[in-house]
C-alpha cells in the first residue's frame, strides 16, 4: 500500500495500518467501528479479491462481483451526497475549506497534516480555492477502499486522556486541557478551544472528567 508512508505522523494510525496490511481478511471482518456500508463493501471486496479460494463457482463469483459493484455505486452516491451538501451552487465544486468537513463526515479521521496531504491530491495545479468533484471522487473512493484514517475507538481516546492526566486523578483542570490542546499536537484555534470547553468543562469544579465526557460524546454521536 503505497500511500502508507503518509501515516507516520500518527502512531496509532500506523499501527492500524499494520493491522490492515498484515491481516487483511481479519481486518475486514472485525471492523465494527467502520460504518455499515463500508464494512459491507470491504467484506465483499476481501471476499472476491483478497480471498481467491472463495471463488468456488462462477455463479457465486458473478453474484458477488455484481454485489461489489452495487456497493461501489452506493459508495459513490454517498460521497456525492456529502459533497453536494457543500456544493452550494450545484456546479460540482466546493470551497476548499469545506473539504475537511466532507472527508471527516464520511467517517474518516485524518490529522490536519494528513488532511493537508489529501488536499494536495485533490487541488488543481493552480489552486482556485475550490475543489472539483471529478478530482475529489477518485481520491476519496480510494481512501475509503483502503480504509485509511479510521475513527478512534473509545478506549484509545480514553488512554490518550490518561496520558495527559499524569497524576491519574481522573480529570484534567481547565487550564491543563487548554495548555495541551493549544500548545501540543496540532493546536486548536481559539474558536475550537472555546467550543470544546463549553461542553467539556464542568462549571462547578472547573475541570473535565474525561471518562464521563467521552461517554457523553460517543452516545451523542450515535
Amino acid at each position: 500500500m503505497e500511500p502508507a508512508r503518509r501515516f507516520c505522523s500518527s502512531p496509532a494510525a500506523s499501527q492500524r495500518q499494520g493491522a490492515v496490511n498484515g491481516k487483511g481478511e481479519e481486518g475486514g471482518l472485525q471492523f465494527n467501528s467502520i460504518t455499515p456500508w463500508g464494512a459491507e463493501l470491504f467484506t465483499q471486496l476481501s471476499g472476491s479479491v483478497l480471498n481467491p479460494q472463495l471463488k468456488k463457482k462462477k455463479i457465486e463469483h458473478a453474484t458477488s462481483y455484481k454485489r461489489g459493484k452495487l456497493a461501489l455505486a452506493e459508495f459513490h452516491k454517498k460521497i456525492k451526497e456529502a459533497f453536494e451538501v457543500f456544493d452550494h451552487e450545484s456546479n460540482n465544486t466546493v470551497d476548499v475549506r469545506e473539504i475537511g468537513t466532507i472527508i471527516r463526515s464520511l467517517g474518516c479521521c485524518p490529522s490536519e497534516g494528513e488532511l493537508h496531504d489529501l488536499l494536495a491530491e485533490v487541488e488543481e495545479e493552480e489552486p482556485t480555492g475550490y475543489i472539483r468533484y471529478e478530482k475529489f471522487l477518485p481520491v476519496m473512493t480510494k481512501v475509503l477502499l483502503e480504509r485509511r484514517y479510521r475513527p478512534i475507538p473509545e478506549d484509545v481516546l480514553l488512554r490518550a486522556f490518561e496520558v495527559l492526566d499524569s497524576a491519574k486523578r481522573g480529570f484534567l483542570t481547565k487550564e491543563e486541557l487548554i495548555k495541551y490542546m493549544t500548545e501540543e499536537g496540532e493546536p486548536f484555534s481559539q474558536e475550537e478551544m472555546e467550543e470544546m470547553l463549553s461542553a467539556a468543562i464542568d462549571p462547578d469544579s472547573n475541570s473535565i472528567n474525561y471518562k464521563e465526557y467521552i461517554t457523553m460524546m460517543v452516545i451523542d454521536e450515535n
Binding site: 492500524r16 465494527n32 451526497e81 451538501v85 468537513t101 490529522s111 486522556f161 501540543e184 499536537g185
Partner: protein
C-alpha cells in the same frame, strides 16, 4: 465507536512525545466530531431552505394560475369588473382625491379605555421611542393612529426618488439592516445594541419588514415613525414581501385582520399603496448600492431611477387591470383565429387527449367519467408524471407555454419585450408599467447571487435571477461602484460575502427558521466605506447552549418539518415504493428509498445523510416501508386527533388553500360571501367553457356552507376540499360528497373542487 480494537493499540512513547501524540489523537477525534456536527447543521439548513423555497414556487404558480384566468376573462358587467379589480389589486391607484378618503381616520374615535400609545403629528422623537417601548410591552397601537401614521408615511414616501442617495458626510456612520420578517425582538435588539435612530445614527432597512413573524405591523409602525421623525437619516428599501400578494400567503394579511378586526381592511388597502411607494434602492456616497435582492445582466440603474415605481403594485404579477377592457376584442379575435397555436398553460390539463373538457358540469355521465379517470389510477399517475416529474421540467414547460401564448411571466428573459401595454394608456389614468420596467423591479427584489459566471432564471424561488460574479463586476464598473449590499437570503452567520467580497448579504432576522438556527447581523459603514459587521442572537436562551445542543435543537425541528412533509405525501410515497418493490416483499433497499423520496418531494435534499435520522431500522440495508409510513402517521396523529388520510390531504394543501381562500375573500372579511363565490366561479367557468348557471353556483355555495350561516368560512372551505379529495381517492366516482345537491340540479359540487385540487396543487 466500538472498543474491541484496542488490543492493537498501545502507547509506548517517550514521555515528552507521549503528550504530543495523545494531544494529536484527541484533536483528530474532536475535529471529526465537529465536522459531523457541521454536516448535520448543513443538512438542517438544506431542509429549512428547500421547504421555504418550495412554498415560494407554489405561491408564484398559484398567482400565475389566477392571472391567466383573469387575463382571459371577459367581464360583462361593471359589477364584475369591479370585483376583478378588487380581487387582485384592490383598487386602482388611489388618486389624491381618493387618498383624502383615507384621511378619514380622524373620524375614528379612540375610546377612553385605550391604554396604548398615543401619537400626534408632526411626530417627535419621543413619540417614536414611546412606540418602541409600548410594543416591547406587547401593547397595540390603535387603528386610528395606524391609519394616521400610514397616511403620513405615504405622503412622505411619495416625494422620495426611486433610488435614495445618502452620504457618510452627514452621519458619521450608516447602519444597514436586512430582512426583519415581523420579528420585533430583532429590531428592538438592534436599536438597543446599536442605538436608536438619531441625526448621528442613520439607518437603512433593506426590505422584507413583514410576513412570517408575528409583529409585522408593529415593525412597520416603528420604521415609519422613525422615518417621519428623521427623514434625512432613516431610509427604507422595498423588499419582495412588501407586496400584498405575498402577504396573502405569508401571514401579514392574516396578522392585520386579526389585530384590527374593524379597520383591518382599510389598513391593508392603504398599505398596498404605501408599499408601492417604497424606494427601490439606496446609494451611499455614490459607491455602495443597497437593494433587497440583487441585480441581473439587464439591470439598468438609470431606468430604475426614472420609472414610476408606484405602478409596480406587485412583483408576482405583471399587468392585471384594464387589459380586460382594452384587449378583449383583440383577444377574442386572437382566440378565434389562432386558437390552434395558443398552447395550454402549464396549470391546465396538458391535453394529449382530444380537446374535450376534463369534466362537464352539465352532464352527469361525462362527469362520472372524468371523476373516475382522476382517481389515482395509472391515468392520473401518468399525467402527474408527465407534467410534474421534476421542477425543471415544469418550468421548461411553463416557459414554453408562456412564450407561445405570449403570457408574460417572470421566467422569461432575453427575448424581445412586447411593448404593448403602455400604448393603451387611457387618458386620466396612470399608465401601466411596461414589461421592461416591471422586470427591472422583479430582478432587484428577487435575485440571488451565484458562484458561477453568467445570469440565469432563478427557478428555485420562481422569480428573479441568479447572477454571477461577472454580472456584479460589470454593474460595478458601469456605475463606478465599490460594492453591493443585499438581503433576501437567510445566512447562518447573518451575513455572507461573495463575488470576491463585492456582494455582501445582510440578514437581520435571527433564529429565523427556529431558535438557534441562525444569527442576525447588521453592517455599519463609515466614510471609509469598509463594512463593519455586527452579529447577534436576539434570543437569550441560545447563548447558554453549546454548539452541539444548539444544532440538535434546530435539527429536531427541521426533521419534524420534514417528517410532516413526508407524511403529507404518504400515498404518493407508497405508490413510489411499490414501484421499487416488484416482488411485493414489502421491503425496499435504502438506496431505493432515497430515490423514491426525492422523486416524490423534489426537495433536493441529501437523503442518504438524513437517513439515520429518518429511518430507524436499517436491517440488512432494507426498509419495511409500510411500517415506516405507519410510524410517520403515528407521529402526526398523536399531535392532531384526526383520521390520517384526511390529515395527509390537509397538510399537503393547507397553505395553498388558505391563500386561495384569501384571494377569493377579496374584501378580507374572513368569509367568502355568496357574491364573491359567484364571481370567482364566473371566472373559472368563462375560461373553462363550463356552462354553469347562477342557480348551480348558489347550490354549490350552499352545499359548502355547512353551518348554513350564509357565507363560507375558512374551515368550511377546507372541509369541502377535503371531502372531495377523500371521495376521489376512494375511487367512488358516483358518490358526490355533498349528496344533498349532487344530482338534482344537474351539476355536481365536487367537480370544481376536483379541478382546483389538480390544477392548483399539482405536486
Amino acid at each position: 465507536m466500538g472498543s474491541s480494537t484496542s488490543i492493537h493499540h498501545h502507547f509506548a512513547f517517550q514521555n515528552a512525545e507521549k503528550a504530543f501524540k495523545a494531544a494529536i489523537l484527541i484533536q483528530r477525534w474532536y475535529r471529526r466530531y465537529v465536522a459531523r456536527l457541521e454536516m448535520r447543521r448543513q443538512c438542517t439548513w438544506s431542509i429549512f431552505q428547500s421547504i421555504e423555497y418550495a412554498g415560494q414556487q407554489d405561491q408564484v404558480k398559484l398567482h400565475d394560475f389566477f392571472s391567466y384566468l383573469m387575463d382571459h376573462f371577459t367581464p360583462d358587467s361593471h359589477h364584475e369588473k369591479e370585483f376583478l379589480d378588487r380581487m387582485f389589486t384592490e383598487e386602482r391607484f388611489p388618486q389624491e382625491a381618493e387618498m383624502e378618503k383615507y384621511s378619514d381616520y380622524e373620524s375614528i374615535e379612540v375610546p377612553d379605555s385605550y391604554t396604548g400609545p398615543h401619537l400626534s403629528f408632526p411626530l417627535l422623537p419621543d413619540h417614536a421611542t414611546a412606540l418602541v417601548e409600548a410594543f416591547r410591552l406587547k401593547q397595540q397601537l390603535h387603528a386610528r393612529y395606524v391609519l394616521n401614521l400610514l397616511y403620513e408615511a405615504r405622503k412622505h414616501l411619495a416625494q422620495l426618488p426611486n433610488i435614495n442617495r445618502l452620504s457618510t458626510c452627514y452621519s458619521e456612520e450608516i447602519t444597514v439592516c436586512g430582512d426583519l420578517h415581523g420579528q420585533l425582538d430583532d429590531l428592538i435588539f438592534i436599536f438597543y445594541k446599536n442605538g436608536l435612530p438619531s441625526p448621528e445614527r442613520a439607518y437603512v432597512f433593506n426590505g422584507d419588514f413583514v410576513d412570517r413573524g408575528k409583529d409585522s405591523i408593529e415593525i412597520l409602525m416603528v420604521l415609519f415613525a422613525f422615518m417621519l421623525v428623521y427623514p434625512k437619516e432613516f431610509h427604507l428599501n422595498r423588499g419582495n414581501h412588501e407586496d400584498h400578494l405575498m402577504n396573502l400567503r405569508y401571514g401579514f394579511t392574516k396578522e392585520v385582520m386579526q389585530k384590527y378586526k374593524v379597520h383591518g381592511k382599510k389598513i391593508l388597502r392603504i398599505l398596498q399603496d404605501v408599499f408601492c411607494w417604497l424606494p427601490l434602492a439606496t446609494l451611499i456616497d455614490e459607491k455602495v448600492l443597497i437593494l433587497h435582492g440583487g441585480v441581473s445582466d439587464r439591470t439598468d440603474l438609470e431606468l430604475l431611477a426614472k420609472l414610476d415605481r408606484h405602478k409596480i403594485v406587485s412583483t408576482l404579477r405583471y399587468k392585471i387591470r384594464k387589459e380586460n377592457d382594452r384587449q378583449t376584442e383583440e383577444k377574442r379575435k386572437a382566440h378565434q383565429t389562432s386558437s390552434a397555436q395558443t398552447s395550454t398553460p402549464w396549470f391546465l390539463p396538458q391535453s394529449r387527449s382530444p380537446p374535450s373538457l376534463p369534466f362537464h358540469l352539465g352532464s352527469d355521465k361525462a362527469h362520472k367519467a372524468s371523476l373516475s379517470s382522476s382517481v389515482p389510477c395509472s391515468a392520473l399517475l401518468e399525467h402527474t408524471e408527465l407534467a410534474w416529474l421534476g421542477r425543471r421540467s415544469v418550468d421548461q414547460e411553463l416557459e414554453r407555454c408562456q412564450q407561445r401564448a405570449s403570457f408574460p411571466g417572470i421566467w422569461e428573459k432575453e427575448e424581445p419585450l412586447p411593448q404593448t401595454s403602455e400604448a393603451h394608456t387611457v387618458p386620466g389614468e396612470l399608465p401601466e408599467p411596461t414589461l421592461q420596467e416591471w422586470r427591472q423591479v422583479v430582478d432587484i427584489l428577487w435575485s440571488d447571487p451565484m458562484m458561477q459566471e453568467g445570469c440565469k432564471a432563478n427557478t428555485v424561488r420562481g422569480g428573479g435571477c441568479y447572477f454571477g460574479p461577472d454580472v456584479t463586476e460589470q454593474l460595478l464598473q458601469k456605475y463606478n461602484l465599490q460594492f453591493l449590499i443585499r438581503s433576501h437570503e437567510c445566512k447562518p452567520e447573518g451575513y455572507e460575502f461573495c463575488h470576491n467580497r463585492k456582494v455582501l448579504t445582510i440578514f437581520s432576522a435571527s433564529n429565523y427558521y427556529e431558535v438557534g438556527s441562525n444569527r442576525g447581523a447588521y453592517v455599519k459603514l463609515g466614510p471609509s466605506l469598509s463594512p463593519y459587521i455586527v452579529q447577534y442572537q436576539a434570543n437569550k436562551a441560545t447563548h447558554m447552549l453549546t454548539m452541539r445542543q444548539r444544532i440538535s435543537r434546530v435539527e429536531e425541528s427541521a426533521l419534524r418539518a420534514l417528517r410532516e412533509k413526508l407524511f403529507a405525501h404518504s400515498s404518493d410515497l407508497l405508490d413510489e415504493f411499490k414501484k421499487h418493490d416488484a416482488d411485493k416483499t414489502g421491503l425496499i433497499t435504502l438506496t431505493d428509498w432515497a430515490t423514491a423520496v426525492e422523486s416524490v418531494l423534489h426537495l433536493g435534499l441529501p437523503w442518504r445523510m438524513l437517513r439515520p435520522q429518518l429511518v430507524n431500522s436499517s436491517m440488512n440495508n432494507t426498509l419495511e416501508y409500510r411500517s415506516w409510513l405507519k410510524d410517520l402517521a403515528k407521529e402526526q396523529l398523536s399531535r392532531e386527533n384526526i383520521q390520517s388520510s384526511l390529515l395527509e390531504t390537509l397538510y399537503r394543501n393547507r397553505s395553498n388553500l388558505e391563500t386561495i381562500f384569501r384571494i377569493i375573500d377579496s374584501d378580507h372579511s374572513g368569509f367568502i360571501s355568496l357574491d364573491e363565490f359567484r364571481q370567482t366561479w364566473k371566472l373559472f367557468s368563462s375560461h373553462m367553457n363550463i356552462d354553469i348557471t347562477d342557480d348551480c353556483i348558489c347550490d354549490l355555495a350552499r352545499s359548502i356552507d355547512f353551518n348554513k350561516d350564509g357565507h363560507i368560512d375558512i374551515n368550511e372551505f377546507l372541509e369541502a376540499f377535503r371531502l372531495v379529495e377523500q371521495s376521489s381517492s376512494e375511487g367512488q366516482a358516483a358518490d358526490c360528497p355533498q349528496s344533498t345537491n349532487a344530482n338534482d340540479s344537474g351539476c355536481s359540487s365536487s367537480a370544481p373542487w376536483e379541478f382546483w385540487k389538480k390544477k392548483i396543487n399539482p405536486t
